[in-house]
Amino acid sequence: MNLSVKIGSLTLQNPVTVASGTFGYGVEYSQLVDLNQLGAVVVKGIRLGPVRGNPTPRTVEVTSGLINAIGLQGPGVDGFIRKYWPFLKELKVPTIINIWGTTVEEYAEVARRFDALGGVGALELNVSCPNIKEGGAQFGTDVKLLSQVVAACRKATKLPLITKMSPNVVSIAPYAQAAEAAGSDALSIMNSFPAMAIDIETRKPRLANVTGGLTGPCIKPIAIKLVWEAAKAVKIPIIGMGGIQTASDAIEFFLAGATAIAVGTANFYEPQTALQIIEGLRQYLEENNIQDIHELIGRVQIGN
């Protein structure tokens, strides 16, 4: 049975990864999860310098979901390399580093730094965080800026580039095509949905940042549709994510056109989710007499 997939030049032993921002820098989960069983570890978004993040409350639970406005708190490139890279580089599975900036130049500089580090599996360009004032989603919701960011990073590194798309667009196809044309090796679909919740007693927003990004099982059907649309528009592989909790959820994403998937919010409440999904995928393939995960990718049956 083959579960192995390729994301650009990067080979994953299986198609199950974790979503940036839901798995820290891997080390936090190492006492609970055998990280070497994963397809890849994807770390929280890193820009050039350290980031303090947003005031609290930063999260609010909603029906079958979670709204967050963390604000990309992080140690910056140097802090990451000092604190977390010594652990990550010893893993048997690749590390995908999620990067961001407030300018095209900063994205490219961060890409260059990680290219020079050696041993990084791939870079994921975060052009879609809804919770920061500058950078993030502004690059993911403007085709021209998106092309510039991807092209600049493409010039800066030979590492596989994955562009993490914003769902906050009328149609995802032109954005997916722009990222592909500018040299992205793959797409992550997608980031969280802009959202808000209000406390009716105090009449105040539940988040200090007022709005945040919605994740969790409640967004899964929307994510499936976006993956399906993007898969029709591009040839590069798609890492599908959004509310995945079970192997069945993951299989829906494969059928919609994803080559790999990422477990996100579920990591917060059930750290074993990704490992359970890998096991569930094996069972499903075996029970259905499928030899290769690729036999599922994009095989949704539309019409007769």
Binding site: Y29, T56, N68, Q73, P217, N267, F268, Y269, P271, Q272
Partner: protein, 261 residues
């Protein structure tokens, strides 16, 4: 840190809205240190996803108990669970209290409501018995008073409605005691943020060390989601640190109160 499925032994009402749940948690209970917490997945909760954090109240052999108040959907559902039902638990988590050394400081505990739950193990393990200052709105908010007394501790009760003990805020009673300026004391506090802030102020005023157990909305409980952060002083200002990992217990002098809303 261990994740395990635990079985409920008992889950009974304490007073009013407070309950005590005892579980068999053979991998977690023996590791528990004073001031640490566990993160519970309440399996019958279907549409609320996240785990709920609870201070570890008492540990005995391979059992562990939690003293909790029903304050929302998660704790409501938990309160309706019974013996032999299962929960999923990750723990012990966080950085707890520093237990005073033999012949070291005399601990003064300051608890608001179910903040008292976080102190039982500290009271049990501290070589010096001290005084527990316990405050609540009403008499029913005063928890496990007799259990602390039977550990040899003095317990001083304050209620805001005057229905039991002294009338007023727990920090007023504490302030009066601190005015005696007896040497060799250390404060430990767990309760609502305004109370912690007041205790921090008193600690500064009387030049006493204080450890505060801080509370923020928690997501993952193990340090990845960065939801539960509090502002902690650094050499050049302050940064957000995680109550689940660097905390929940912080030295009061480290807390950047000016950045707490």
């Amino acid at each position: 840190m261990v994740e395990q499925t635990v079985r409920i032994i008992s889950n009974e009402r304490d007073t009013d809205l407070y309950f005590r749940v005892v579980v068999r948690a053979p991998q977690i209970a023996p590791l528990a240190q004073p001031g640490q917490f566990v993160h519970l997945r309440i399996l019958p909760l279907k549409h609320a996803l996240l785990r709920r954090p609870f201070s570890i109240f008492q540990v005995s052999g391979d059992t562990l108990s939690i003293l909790y108040k029903t304050i929302g959907e998660g704790t409501e559902v938990l309160s309706r669970m019974g013996p032999n039902e299962e929960l999923n638990m990750i723990g012990p988590l966080g950085h707890g209290f520093n237990v005073p050394k033999p012949g070291g400081e005399v601990p003064l505990l300051v608890a608001g409501g179910y903040g008292m739950a976080a102190f039982y193990m500290l009271a049990q393990r501290s070589p010096q018995k001290g005084v527990a200052f316990v405050g609540g709105r009403r008499r029913v908010d005063i928890l496990c008073e007799e259990e602390f007394r039977s550990l040899g501790w003095e317990v001083r009760v304050t209620t805001e409605d005057g229905s039991y003990g002294e009338n007023g805020l727990v920090t007023h009673t504490l302030s009066a005691e601190l005015s005696k300026r007896m040497p060799g004391r250390k404060l430990f506090a767990c309760g609502p943020t305004p109370m912690l802030k007041a205790v921090g102020k008193l600690a500064a005023e009387f030049d006493l060390p204080a450890e505060l157990s801080l509370d923020e909305h928690m997501g993952c409980g193990i340090g990845v989601c960065l939801a539960c952060v509090v502002p902690i002083k650094t050499n050049d200002g302050w940064e957000y640190q995680r109550t689940c990992t660097e905390g929940p217990v912080f030295d009061s002098r480290q807390v950047a109160w000016e950045a707490v809303k």
